[in-house]
Symmetry: C2
Subunit: 150 residues, 2 copies
DNA sequence: GTGATTGCAAATCTTTTGCACTAAA
DNA sequence: TTTAGTGCAAAAGATTTGCAATCAC
């Protein structure tokens, strides 16, 4: 049954489960075998607009859409995707890890009320002045989190 | 560093356990009883320059300096101090909570190599443009983390 | 077949909680 | 006293890991 989902040419069957040629390409580019689990998760992650998910949330989503994946595999997959640049990790909450499908340079709103994340439009924020990296280091990344409350 | 005063009513027991006038004031201002544990932890936290600590690290430090405090109490104390504005929480690492003795408005370097935090001098960074808070929310705080490697 | 991937359960790690005991006011 | 604060051990989450079974190539 996973066949229909595995093929880029398969036609749409259920909403949200349409196979994407892009998903296969992404996995191939990352050097990851297109397993049933990875395809299903990639499809959920990259099907629409940019998303911010936790492992738990993605696991639930997979379950709801009828995909059988263990939580351990969801964790593994999210980290593999992150390592190969398909995802980006966002740290806003100690104790929970968020993964962002938008890997471009951008920043976030964090809604303290419900623990939701949203991208900040790239041109609505700007850093006027950056300090130099401390001696012997280089800037790996700059994260701006705007915490908003109800 | 001239803040080391003997408190008249304190009973000198072990070295490094002399109370600071400032520490007593801080606790009083926060409405927290000056217990042996809170005094000891406050002394470690506020004795010198600004610090960034985790509960575990502070607990170890207390142990080394001969103060007997349970880890649970360290957690409780750090949260009480945070709630009363004596400390600030910094989120840079999912899975670990850092507390900052500098409660003024400032940002951080995070050294990925060793998980260390450092304050960024206030005037060496500036946000040129901030987005508006999404409808129905207000900006509670803006955090900038510059992650440095190597 | 062979090596990569998965699932499950157990293990880890950090943090919180329940509750009897201790200490400040 | 009276009530806040503490310690301990157990509980709770989130995440990782070990290993046998399964799957992709």
């Amino acid at each position: 049954m996973s066949q229909i989902f595995d093929r880029p040419t398969a036609r749409p069957t259920q909403p949200g489960l349409r196979p994407f040629a892009g998903v296969l390409q992404k996995l191939a580019a990352a050097g990851l075998r297109p397993t049933r689990q990875r395809l299903a998760l990639a499809r959920l992650l990259f099907a629409g607009t940019d998303r911010h998910v936790t492992a738990e949330a993605l696991h639930d989503e997979a379950e709801v859409s009828g995909v059988r994946v263990s939580l351990a595999t969801v964790y593994n997959t999210l980290h593999q995707f992150t390592a190969s640049g398909l995802l980006r990790e966002v740290v806003v909450d100690s104790g929970r890890t968020y993964f962002d499908t938008n890997t471009s340079d951008h920043h976030h709103f964090f809604f303290e009320a419900d623990g939701r994340l949203a991208d900040i439009p790239g041109d609505s924020i700007a850093l006027a002045r950056l300090p130099e990296a401390p001696a012997g280091t280089r800037i790996a990344r700059v994260d701006v989190i705007i915490r908003v409350a109800g």
